[in-house]
Structure formats: structure tokens, C-alpha cells
Assembly symmetry: C2
Homo-oligomer: 417 residues x 2
């Protein structure tokens, strides 16, 4: 276990083996890149200005920009070198004393997390959402089409996905307003048409979003190429209006039921940091059809990240966990999603987001949405002393992810209003 000369609280999510990337601002200054250690946000633009990355950075002034896109557009080696450099600067015994011994630089570049404002770390060019948890797809399919027809015939052959709305990806914490829209008048008879009103079945979806990095492609990516193009991961809440979704989604998929808000955590945990927690996907553990060659990943490579969802109502003083799942529960991994996305030659740019799809496990307490936890509203979900079928106004939804050994944690905390 490595330690830093900088004080890190025992229960901190951000240890020296994490080194996530984000964008922050302080009053009077424009947003810029940062990392975090314990409670200390480090202004990477000042470290860059002081020349600490000069020998490993191909272009200048990369960290004073309002998003990380230019940084993550660089090759993977650059990301890795910067992360390693930050670790060498901060580790005890110190391997590169240029920060530790520069009091003025420390004073200028260190901020307590409580004193900064965090921003969306990337400009999202395109956002794609997948549907890669077999358990989630089976649960939803069972509810809407019955058990025998739950999984569509294509599901085990490709990572089903669709394009999402990029303009409404917000950084957490964010106030998510209950949307209005069209609701089916008679639940059992669509021929009765629709009515206008507020969504009655407001829901979250527990997801992980891969952040695409590297230079834009013009050709399909192999699995190996795709792996080197994944910069890191954000926790993501794919807010969903289930009743609007039910009425609108056939035949072109969800549209206004999900276009009002998608929230992501402010810190991108790098793929490098997660390597120590590599674990196979659920596809690697089961007797499943072999995918086509362009989708084969011999490692079925995912990560063991425990993920939870907690809800705190307006009357409660702390969040109550309603779901505990794991990133490795997914059937298709991010590299497979990216290889499939580009099989046609589709161009992917730095900052594109790939939502994993709702990450549900096989037990009833590991389902990643209220739709599944309440089984389409047929049972109550315990939220502390309260009960829920779907979200109420004022509910705060807290998503967390951590790897057990090192507590890399990253989260969303948003209010449904």
C-alpha cells in the first residue's frame, strides 16, 4: 500500500493509487483540470505551468482548458505518464520533490474540496447508452413481454445500444425536475390515446459510463484498439420517466422519457487505476454463445467495482441503500461496446460517453432501477422508515462505486424535484 506525504483521511475515497481527473473552479477563476487526493483538489494547470509535465506532454497549456477533451484526445501513454507523474510527486517517500519542496506552488495549487465548484469534466460530443446487463434486460423483458420472450434474439450476439441526448448530460449534484410529457390514458389499451401531465413513474438507472479517449477513428476498431481508447469511467444516473417511456418507445426507442437529464460523477476514475481490480464479465462465467470474432475479448475484461444506490427523502437525514450491484455484473464490456459501435466505421471522438446500461445483478437487492426493485410498481421498496415504488419529489439519489481494497470511490448525488 502506497501513502502520500499529503494528509489523506482514513476513509477517503481518493487515495494515492486513484488519481482521478476532473474540472474545477474557484471564485474569480475559469474552470481548469484537477486531480484529488483525500480532501485536497490539486490544480493541474499550475503544476503544468510550473513545468512538472514538460517532458511527458506533447502539447502546451492542456490543463488550463474548461474541459479535459484535449488531454484525453492524446494517446493512452500520455494519460498513463501524467498519472504516474502525479503519484511520484505525491508519494512518500517522495520520488519527485518538485512539488513537495515548493511551498508557493503548494499554496497556489491546493484547494480543500469544500471550497471548489466541480464542473462537467468533458464536453460530451456524443453520448451512447447501452443495455448490457443480462439481468436488467431479462427483468425488463419479463415485465413487458413475459418470461418466455424476455431477451430479444439479438441480445446475446451484440451489445444492444442507442444514441442518447448529449446536451442534457449534467455533472452531479444536479436538481432533476420531474418532466411533463405524454402518458398513455389507459394502461391496458393504447388505442385510447394519451394525455399530457407530469411523469408519475420517475426512476433512476445505476450505470457506469466509459469516457472515450484518443484521436478520432475513421475505421472500425478491434477489441485491442478499443481497450486503448477507454480513458476512464464516470458513475452515471440515466434518469428515466417510465410512463412516458412506455407510451413512446415503440418502434424507435426511448426519447423524451430520457432526454431531460443524465447525471455523471465529477471525477473520472482512469482505466489504469481500475486495472488492479480486473474481473471477468458475467459472460465469461457462464455457458454462453461465443460472440462473432470482432467482439471476442478473451479476458472478458471488466472490473470489480461495488456499486450502490441510496435514496434520502426530504424528511430523512441520511441516504438509505436500496441497491448493491457490481460493475462486473455486465455481460458486455466497454471495449466490446466500442468495437461494436465502430463496426460500421462510426467515428468516435475524445469525450464521447458510453453508458453501460443499468447494472443489475441476479438478486432482488441488486437491481439497478426502481422499475425492477418495485417490479413495475407491484411491491414497495424500503427506504429507511419510508416506502417507495418510484421516486418522490425531493428524493436525493446517491450513486457510489468503490473497489474494495483501495476505496476508489466516485459518485453522483442528485435531487429529484
Amino acid at each position: 500500500m502506497a501513502y502520500s506525504w499529503l494528509k489523506v483521511p482514513n476513509d477517503s475515497d481518493f487515495t494515492i493509487v486513484n488519481v482521478p481527473f476532473g474540472v474545477f473552479s474557484v471564485p474569480g477563476k475559469s474552470p481548469r483540470a484537477a486531480t484529488i487526493l483525500g480532501d485536497t483538489v490539486l490544480d493541474l494547470s499550475l503544476l503544468e505551468e510550473a513545468g512538472l509535465f514538460d517532458d511527458i506532454m506533447p502539447i502546451a497549456n492542456i490543463f488550463c482548458r474548461p474541459d479535459l477533451n484535449t488531454f484525453i484526445e492524446q494517446p493512452k501513454a500520455v494519460w498513463s505518464n501524467v498519472r504516474q507523474r502525479v503519484i511520484r510527486l505525491l508519494v512518500e517517500p517522495c520520488e519527485d520533490p518538485r512539488l513537495k519542496e515548493n511551498s508557493a506552488l503548494k499554496r497556489a495549487s491546493f484547494h480543500h474540496i469544500a471550497e471548489v465548484k466541480m464542473h462537467l469534466p468533458i464536453h460530451v460530443g456524443d453520448y451512447t447508452d447501452f443495455y448490457s446487463s443480462r439481468e436488467h434486460a431479462t427483468n425488463v423483458g419479463t415485465m413487458f413481454r413475459g418470461k418466455d420472450d424476455a431477451l430479444q434474439p439479438n441480445w446475446l450476439h451484440l451489445p444492444v445500444g442507442y444514441h442518447g441526448r448529449a446536451s442534457t448530460v449534467y455533472v452531479s449534484p444536479h436538481n432533476v425536475h420531474r418532466p411533463y410529457g405524454q402518458l398513455q390514458k389507459d394502461a391496458n389499451d393504447p388505442s385510447q390515446g394519451s394525455e399530457y401531465g407530469p411523469c408519475q413513474l420517475m426512476d433512476f438507472e445505476l450505470e457506469m459510463a466509459a469516457v472515450v479517449g484518443g484521436a478520432a477513428n475513421t475505421r472500425p476498431m478491434t477489441i485491442e484498439q478499443a481497450k486503448s481508447r477507454i480513458f476512464g469511467f464516470l458513475l452515471m444516473n440515466d434518469w428515466s420517466a417510465r410512463d412516458i417511456q412506455k407510451w413512446e418507445y415503440v418502434p424507435l426507442g426511448p426519447f423524451t422519457s430520457k432526454n431531460f437529464a443524465t447525471t455523471v460523477s465529477p471525477w473520472i476514475v482512469t482505466a489504469d487505476a481500475l486495472e488492479a481490480f480486473a474481473a471477468p464479465t458475467s459472460a465469461g462465467l457462464q455457458d454462453n454463445p461465443t460472440p462473432l470474432p470482432y467482439l471476442q475479448d478473451p479476458e472478458y475484461g471488466s472490473y470489480d467495482v461495488v456499486m450502490t444506490v441510496a435514496i434520502q427523502s426530504a424528511r430523512q437525514s441520511q441516504p438509505n441503500v436500496v441497491c448493491t450491484s457490481n460493475f462486473k455484473n455486465l455481460y458486455w464490456n466497454s471495449a466490446q461496446q466500442l468495437a461494436h459501435h465502430t463496426v460500421t466505421g462510426c467515428s468516435m471522438k475524445a469525450g464521447d460517453l458510453l453508458g453501460s446500461g443499468t447494472i443489475s445483478g441476479s438478486t432482488e437487492t441488486s437491481f439497478g432501477s426502481m422499475l425492477e426493485l418495485s417490479w413495475k410498481g407491484s411491491r414497495e421498496v424500503k427506504v429507511g422508515e419510508e416506502k417507495r415504488k418510484f421516486l418522490h419529489d425531493g428524493d436525493v439519489v446517491v450513486l457510489k462505486g468503490h473497489c474494495v481494497m483501495s476505496r476508489h470511490t466516485f459518485g453522483c448525488r442528485d435531487r429529484s424535484t
Copy 2:
């Protein structure tokens, strides 16, 4: 009829009552804004630099940028004022002689269309594609689900739409490569799984794309607000791999079958220019259910734009028209699409694209895709002396639109390779 002191060929698509906006470059110079009259491209950045828009433009240096986004982010009055100013500068008798009498400015700002390179005129933040032709939806529904179940229950109540891929919106002309992907092994039995290979059913879709302008919204837009937010229109070809689409599209809609290329015309014809050709949508002409109040447009406002698709094979010397349709054939108009898009509060930004959906009419020669023209490959479509069911490699697909009185024409011309 108004004429210009600048020579405009008799058969030109770009008369003085058109004044479309685009982005062009000449060797050694960066892309910048332009309009076109006859065969003459006018460099708007030089007209701006000469002060010709000073009294009507709220911010400086708006036309020297590589896209029109900042210009169309301004209120509608600014777009209209600039168009009117250009007309006053160019009309004969001249109403504002500052260009006509400035030989140096004319020399510097005028270019023959053959000497410039046209660029994608906007940075597309998000691209949404609708499905708003009743005839197209009925045709596709009939082919895939039978006549009795052709239109989904929601179709007459809302403009069905879905998010598209923004990174692969290209300006025409563009070489579109036949994509590879997953194809269903047995056409009649999806349980047999899929195989990897090149798309066999390559198709076009004849569409019009509305370009959203104005400042980003945070609340739903009324129909009236939506009307004032539509800057203009591009012709759009929504390239489609029908066999990939068939296998992948249930339940989340088309994904890789359409993510490889969407092509648009280089010139944006303004909503102002089309006003003279206002015509009701097909919804306004039929005995249809009244939409919910937030979707009601008393004018059912569309435009009478004749739209054609022509194909020219590698062996042919000219394009052969295979489809003649009309923008007014649509059931839902762009303002209704925009109001529905934002009913949840979804934020729309300047440069967002709203594809109309394939614009099919009621006759067999007015169908806007090969899928419909060949009725799912069951009949041959005449292309000059050749025949087609779907596109062949080397086929050039030419989309054109014109308003009969003034010949506002704008088109796409792309090669399928």
C-alpha cells in the same frame, strides 16, 4: 420578381430571394461564413469587416468563424436583418450601394462556386431524427408488421423520434462506404443468430433537416417559441443499412445501421426564404385526431418544396430521378417536433439538427427510400436503363429540393462506395 445587379444564370438555384447561409474556404484561408447568389459565393466575413452589418449585429467577428453556430445562436431578428441587408446590397435598383460601388471589396469577397470548398455549415451538438411521414411509417409498418398493425398507437399523437449520431453528419458531397455489421443469418428465423459481413441492403432516406437556432432553452417551448427557433433547413440523406437495421433495432431503435453517415447539403435555406411557400402539412388536410394542446399548430405550417432523389450509377452519365416527393407531405412539422422534443425541458442548442424522417408521398413514385420503392426488394426500380432494389457500390445519390416559383434549390450529392 426581384433581380440583382450581379449576374445570375437563368437556371440558378440561388436567386436574390433565397440568400442561404453556408461555410466555405479557399486555399490558404480558414473556413468562414458565406452566402451565394447565382454562381457567386460571397464572403460574409469580409462584408462584416467592411462594416456593412455593424448596425444590426449584436457581436463582432461572427462570420469569420468555422461554423455558423454563433450567428444562429442570435435571436431570429438578427438572422432576418442580415438576410434583408444582403438583399438590399445586391438588388437592382440597389438600395444600399456600399458593396456595389466598392470594387476592392467585390474583388476580395466574390468567388466562383467552382473555386471554393464547402464545409459542414454548423457544428452539430445533437442530431435528432424524426419519423413524421405518415406514408413512410405506414409503408414500413405494413412491410414489417402487416397492414392492420402498420401505424403504432402512439404515431398520430406525437412526432415519433430518436437520437441520432452527431459525429457522422457530413457535408455533401461525401463518399459513403458500405458498412460491415451483423446480419441475421436466416431471414425468417432470428433464433439462428447472426453473421458478420458487408451490408447487402444499402439505402438512402430523403429527408429535410431543420437547424435549431437561438439561445439554449431550459424550459419546454410552445409551438410559437419553437417556430422562432428554426433558423432554416438542409436537405438530408439518412443513409441506412436495412439488413443491419432489421437485426438490431428491437427494442431500442436503429443504431449501427445508421451511425456511419448522414449527409446534408452545404447551404442552409432560411425559414424566412421559405415563408413565401408556406403550405399546410398532410395532417391539416385530413380528418385526423386533434393533437394535445402543446402540439397544436393552427396553421399546420409546412412548406411546398418539391423534393427529388436521383441515382447515377458508375456507368451512367447523368442522374435518373427515382422519387419525387414534397416537404408538405409530412404529417408533423418542425415546430411540432421541437415542441415535443422540449416538452420535458430538454435543452436545445444552436446547431442542433432535427431530421424530418423519410418524406414519402402517397404514390409509388413518391416514396423516399429504396426500401419502399422496391417494396422490401420485391420489385425492381428503374434507374435509367439499369434496375435496382437497393444501392450498388459507385451509385451517386442526388437529393434536390426546390420551390417552384423561385427555384430555391439545395441538394446532396454523395457516392455509395
